[in-house]
Subunit: 150 residues, 2 copies
DNA sequence: TGAATCTTGCTAATATATTAGTAATCGTTC
DNA sequence: GAACGATTACTAATATATTAGCAAGATTCA
């Protein structure tokens, strides 16, 4: 009984980050919806644009999508023609995921609109602020790397 | 045919925020798992601890949980005895959600461990850095408020 | 060679997220 | 006080997240 009440002195930082991200993503969501593509699918298209064809494991690493999530996402993307999957000849376990002409065209249509949102966001937040924000987030990732000190 | 290739000059900021958040939450997850509580459930317990009994709509606002998500989360929480739900007498539409003795005891057990993780995170990131990070995230939320300038 | 081990992508089960829509209730107006 | 609009919590359908586990293919080494 009478267990001491919980005293949490720190603000909920993961929640704060979630909220900030949500406010940001809100600016992009209408765009994604208008093009009939989900946030995760767009993340994958983006990395494939930049890095070329990749394997699921690499996509998962870059887009922060777990293997089970990827299984579904990639299957749906293949179904609607956003990516194609091919088994590697020399290693039957592995798969190569690449963009299709259709998804490249979609990306080309979306890119300027995406850039416009970034421009607006930068305008609202300030150019300097944005630079520092990117750097801070990079730093969080780097310093909390689980491979480093636990 | 020759549609111009997409050129995205900005790094994917929502993804960057997701990655930073994930690196952070990774430090808490083992703790939550050990106590058999999910991230969302813990968020709700925290706000109820701080704010007292609330209505679903308020919880959703504070925890960034959509109404449909809340329906399921609160139902499961009630089932395992983490919260209780009661209809308001003077307004039959509304519901009042409150903690139970069990969830208060759970929070009391978890609080020091949660605080320990924050201490470790602050040690890794630096105290000053953390302060600026909180402020920056607050600023993002404030400046991207959808009620403000579109 | 062949057994132990690792890697890769996958499935299963459950919990949440997103979008759309709905029934019950409340407040207000005519 | 009946009609209307707004609010509240909810359901339905689908997409994704999390945890656990697995089977096939590749690798290592006795």
């Amino acid at each position: 009984m009478g267990s001491k009440p919980a005293s949490l002195k720190h603000r909920n930082l993961p929640l704060l980050m979630l909220r900030a991200r949500e406010h940001l993503i809100r600016r992009f969501r209408p765009l994604l919806n208008a093009h009939g593509i989900t946030e995760q699918q767009w993340r994958i298209v983006r990395v494939l644009l930049e890095a070329g064809a990749l394997e699921p494991r690499e996509i998962g690493e870059l887009c922060r999508l777990s293997s089970p999530s990827l299984a579904g996402v990639l299957a749906r993307m293949e179904e609607i023609g956003l990516v194609s999957r091919k088994r590697l000849a020399h290693d039957q376990r592995r798969v190569r995921v690449s963009l299709t002409p259709g998804s490249r065209a979609l990306a080309a249509r979306m890119a300027p609109q995406i850039e416009a949102v970034y421009a607006r966001v930068e305008q609202l937040l300030g150019r300097e602020f944005c630079k520092r924000l990117y750097a801070a987030l990079d730093s969080v990732i780097d310093k909390l790397e689980p491979t480093a000190s636990r």
